[in-house]
């Protein structure tokens, strides 16, 4: 908040925010806009492959902030859970190849698996892949998801639950990602941010629209909604976080825009409201 108006040195954009762009287009567009940080989604890496994507990012001198996303550990069958762990080990390798220091985990949920069991499966899986993360030098960030995703995306729905896993595993490789969209309603958000402290590996911003017309793809740009983004950023920084402030907006509306214009919109929203 004390940076000069033209300081975007801590701005990071998720490739999913400009979903219609290929990774090449995103790297080109962000670079021309003076955006230094990029969080890469695996969907945008896949068409190129990790090796070519890594070279593209290195050549552009972009700072790769995170790889999104690992997780989805929950399944009723043991074989499916083993496959999920294997997929996460590949994601860890991919992160290492891309130079991403963090892999973000959306932990998973399934309507046929009750929540206590799902939470146990998540704990067991993160415990199982932690040595791989350590070997690769890639940290794992558990991202609590909004309770409206507890049926099919994540059974970890509060920062407290994520912190509990982090403290139980007690590894420097395992921490949390705080996304204001998922956590803003939580009466214990401030105290849990403080508790997380140096375990905060990532900070994501967007906004909650009133009304929200779709559970998944109607998120707002910072300033479009009611989330106290600046205040939460202050708590995160008080807790010791000094990393990028990442703009992650899933929005059918903004994906319909000219993505060049969207990048300018992102910069303005970030500067004024994040």
């Amino acid at each position: 908040m004390t940076e000069p108006l033209n300081d975007f040195s801590r701005l990071c954009v998720h490739t999913m925010t400009t979903k219609p762009w290929t990774l090449e287009q995103a790297v080109d567009g962000y670079t021309r806009a003076g955006i230094p940080g990029i969080t890469v989604w695996r969907e945008h890496v896949a068409p190129l492959g990790a090796k070519k994507a890594a070279k593209l990012l290195r050549d552009a001198e972009m700072k790769v902030v995170s790889l999104c996303r690992g997780g989805f550990f929950v399944a009723s069958g043991a074989q499916a859970r083993e496959q999920a762990k294997g997929e996460n080990r590949r994601a860890i390798e991919e992160a290492a190849e891309l130079g991403a220091p963090v892999l973000v985990l959306v932990c998973g949920a399934a309507p046929e698996v009750d929540l206590p069991r799902a939470r146990q499966q998540i704990f067991d899986a993160i415990h199982a892949i932690e040595p791989d993360a350590k070997a690769a030098g890639v940290r794992l960030a558990i991202e609590p998801l909004h309770p409206m995703y507890a049926d099919s995306r994540s059974a970890i729905n509060t920062l407290e639950q994520a912190n509990n896993i982090v403290f139980a595993l007690n590894s420097p490789m395992v921490g949390v990602a705080v996304d204001v969209y998922h956590c803003w309603w939580d009466p214990f958000l401030r105290s849990e941010i403080s508790r997380a402290g140096k375990s905060i590996f990532a900070f994501h911003v967007c906004d909650w629209r009133t009304p929200t017309r779709d559970l998944l793809n109607d998120r707002g740009m910072p300033g479009d909604g009611c989330i106290n983004i600046r205040e939460i950023r202050g708590w995160v920084e008080q807790a010791g976080f000094k990393g990028f402030v990442e703009v992650e907006v899933f929005s059918d509306q903004y994906w319909g825009w000219d993505q060049e214009k969207l990048v300018e919109r992102i910069k303005r929203a970030w500067k004024q409201h994040a």
Copy 2:
């Protein structure tokens, strides 16, 4: 769960579940279907007026379980907040006139009021109207709402928050309504139900569909989704609750059905899954 198959003595249906029906049609339809309990929504009382509605319900010998709904206490302006309290006092009178022992409170939220302030306004308002509730013999049930409604419907999003208000006010007139739709994801649900104990004034059931296509009006009948309704009912009963199990389903899909058929569907879902 130990009742015989034809025992619907604890079944209650919300008039909003059969929204297309007038109050007259609902009373007639429920009576013919052998449904003893009704929770009346103010929207369904308004066309008749409370006096005629009360006579209709008495003549049909229906058990009025609750009146829905009071609340919406949050506003940025003091005058609007006073008006909200006045409206709640009228709702208390209406409940008394209808013979409803409980008024359910959806406490309110507004995108322009930050959550700590909203929560203070809610506490202050319930404190202010409690003497009116006492004078009228109508108990107030604070219903925590799912966090996806924290922007515009309720800043009380967990049973813990509702319990905290109940214990602070320490009045036999103020308790909670537990709705499985709003609370099922909460890792502290079981312990907070136990803590609420005799302060549980109402128990609402429906189900969470995967995918949920609309934030408001895509709720499922018991059995349509992933909520552990029976288990939660067990916790509520262990805590001492002996009241009606109320079917409250907002669903554009079910509202499009022939409502006679819907009533049969409700009975089957209740018997098998609630």
